[in-house]
């Protein structure tokens, strides 16, 4: 027994003890190539067939540019709102005990589990002028459904969980010592929160907001039902791709899609690099 153990531990570190390296990595790479990478070749070929000037013309078309603007703005507002709401939710879930807490915790994930089309028709019905919320808001003179504001509402709804789920674990692991020291020295809650707690939370908060932003940029199902989809006003970029497809204008659809794809891949890589960095800092090299 002791000989086998020492023989095993004497093996050089890089020697793999566990089986299945070739099988698991090989099939993962095969699957990712087949499912994720191969389909991209179609887009590359389609856009490569276009001349540069034609490509530029399609992606800077006035109506398409208007869709970039409304998509980005709505996503910015939605993710900032979710940053605040998510931080509040995470705080309340981690710091306090109250009846119904487990239900609240479970409900946070509703937007992930609920199909986007269901969310879309529900929000459209609620915020329509004769809907539960729409009636109240109409009295204040606010129109949400079928306006850009509807896009913000739909995007916020579908990305609520991101900030909560990134901030929650960090908040749970936060050591109480510094905080207690601050309080004992007579600092106010707010200044301890701002000077001691927020600096430890903000990398996670930024990650959550960035994830929420990325998701909002790509959101389609929930948005199209509430947005009204008026050209130049409340048309999101994903819908522009869809519109071009329905016109059988494949090159234009591909060109716009390539812009969206490049933007979301850049965001994804940026988020992952950012996360790796702050995790390293957090867990000490």
């Amino acid at each position: 027994m002791s000989t086998t153990l020492s023989a095993a531990s004497a093996k050089p570190r890089h020697k793999r003890v566990l089986p299945g390296f070739g099988l698991s990595l090989g099939s993962s790479l095969f699957f990712i190539s087949l499912i994720l990478l191969l389909p991209m070749t179609g887009l590359v070929m389609q856009t490569a067939n276009m001349g540069w000037s034609e490509y530029w013309y399609v992606i800077t078309d006035e109506r398409v540019v208007a869709s970039y603007k409304v998509t980005i703005w709505a996503a910015v507002i939605a993710s900032v709102f979710n940053g605040l709401f998510g931080l509040l939710l995470a705080w309340v879930l981690v710091r306090y005990e109250f009846p119904g807490k487990r239900i609240l915790d479970a409900l946070v994930d509703l937007p992930f589990a609920l199909p986007t089309a269901v969310a879309g028709i529900t929000l459209a019905t609620l915020y329509a002028e004769n809907g539960w919320y729409g009636q109240l808001l109409a009295e204040l003179g606010i129109k949400v459904a079928y306006t850009p504001l509807g896009i913000v509402v739909a995007m916020s709804f579908t990305s609520i969980p991101f900030v909560v789920r990134t901030v929650q674990p960090v908040l749970e692991e936060l050591a109480p010592e510094e905080e207690e020291a601050g309080i004992t020295l007579g600092a106010s809650d707010w200044s301890v929160f701002r000077r001691i707690i927020l600096p430890s939370l903000w990398p996670a908060l930024v990650t959550g907001v960035a994830l929420s932003f990325t998701r909002s940029l790509g959101e389609f199902g929930a948005v199209i039902f509430v947005a009204g989809n008026m050209p130049y006003i409340s048309e999101i970029t994903s819908l522009m791709i869809f519109v071009r497809l329905q016109e059988f204008d494949f090159p234009a659809a591909s060109a716009i899609a390539s812009v969206v794809l490049i933007a979301s891949l850049l965001l994804l890589f940026a988020i992952n690099i950012w996360q790796a960095r702050y995790l390293k800092r957090l867990h000490g090299r």
């Binding site: 086998t4 095993a8 793999r16 003890v17 566990l18 299945g20 698991s24 990595l25 993962s28 699957f31 990712i32 499912i35 994720l36 990478l37 389909p39 070749t41 179609g42 887009l43 070929m45 509040l88 309340v92 710091r95 306090y96 487990r102 239900i103 609240l104 479970a106 937007p111 992930f112 589990a113 609920l114 199909p115 986007t116 089309a117 269901v118 028709i121 529900t122 929000l123 019905t125 609620l126 539960w132 905080e179 207690e180 809650d189 707690i197 990325t214 389609f220 199902g221 039902f225 994903s238 819908l239 791709i241 497809l245 494949f250 899609a257 979301s264 891949l265 994804l268 890589f269 992952n272």
Partner: protein, 285 residues
């Protein structure tokens, strides 16, 4: 333990602050999540139970339900196997490009579902380089159920791996390495050592994959062709009914998907409760 601490030691523990924050959170959650959820069922049953059953019994609706179940039935096992293999390779071995592989896995999260659908349409549609070949051999993938399955696999492929990776990383390799040293074969090792440790996370990954698979809208709507009674999945059918001013019927179908979402949430809460209990049992030992 932690609950026995003195007063006002931590930020936000004063009752005024605490109850304001809890109250604010509950109000916002009610407005943003609970009321929308309830309104789905209210809208579905607004004309009574008989109308509800009638709209679910419609042949097109039944066909959409059947197709959706069929798609989920094919998608879930594929992503289950892939998710386990991927999680095994990235948590049990070190290799160059490991981080990149994990980032690639996140692409479906970041990419707009419309873009995902377009990628498949461009490659496997009649104009794509694979599609043209398929066309010559009389194989139609797009605007038919295989296309729907393919994009659903794409959109839902990260979920199982995403649930498994953090857990498997946290559990480490020691148990498995010990089993190998004691002479366990690869399959025995997985079934007897790994699987019991990850079974709940795995099951949740499967349930989440299922929830997303039955609810996928954007990607499916690009490749389905929306042929009523043929290639309409449940979310597409909901859109069709809703835009056809059959809101009650749309919400009746939506209520089915909402129930699946609720089951997913309840299951997640159950797993977290179990984990917490196991954690407590461990720490009292």
């Amino acid at each position: 333990m932690a609950s026995g601490q003195r007063h006002q030691q931590r930020v936000g523990d004063r009752p005024a602050v605490k109850y304001t924050l809890i109250g604010l959170t509950l109000v916002l959650t009610a407005v943003l999540l609970v009321v929308p959820l309830i309104s789905i069922f209210q809208q579905a049953f607004v004309d009574g139970l008989a109308v509800y059953w009638d709209s679910l019994g419609d042949p097109d609706t039944l066909h959409a339900i059947g197709l959706t179940m069929f798609v989920a039935l094919l998608t879930v096992p594929i992503n289950l196997v892939f998710g386990v293999l991927l999680a095994w390779s990235v948590t049990r071995f070190e290799f160059p490009g490991r981080k990149l592989l994990m980032t690639l896995m996140d692409i479906p999260f970041a990419v707009s579902p419309v873009v995902a659908g377009l990628l498949y349409l461009l490659l496997y549609g009649n104009n794509g380089w694979i599609g043209a070949w398929l066309f010559e051999h009389d194989l139609q993938l797009m605007f038919a159920w295989p296309g729907i399955v393919m994009v659903t696999v794409f959109v839902t492929c990260p979920f199982v791996a995403r649930e498994l990776i953090p857990l498997m990383q946290q559990q480490g390799r020691e148990d498995e390495e010990a089993a190998v040293i004691l002479g366990a074969s690869g399959w025995q090792l997985f079934r007897r050592v790994t699987l019991p440790n990850i079974k709940w996370a795995l099951l949740y990954g499967v349930i989440l994959t299922n929830a997303r698979a039955v609810g996928e809208f954007g990607a499916v709507s690009v490749v389905s062709g929306n042929i009523r009674g043929e290639t309409n999945t449940l979310p597409l059918h909901i859109q069709l009914l809703y835009e056809d001013y059959q809101a009650t019927a749309a919400f009746a179908s939506a209520s089915l998907l909402a129930v699946i979402a609720l089951i997913t949430l309840i299951f997640k809460a159950f797993i977290e409760w179990r984990q917490e209990r196991a954690h407590k049992a461990e720490s009292t030992h």
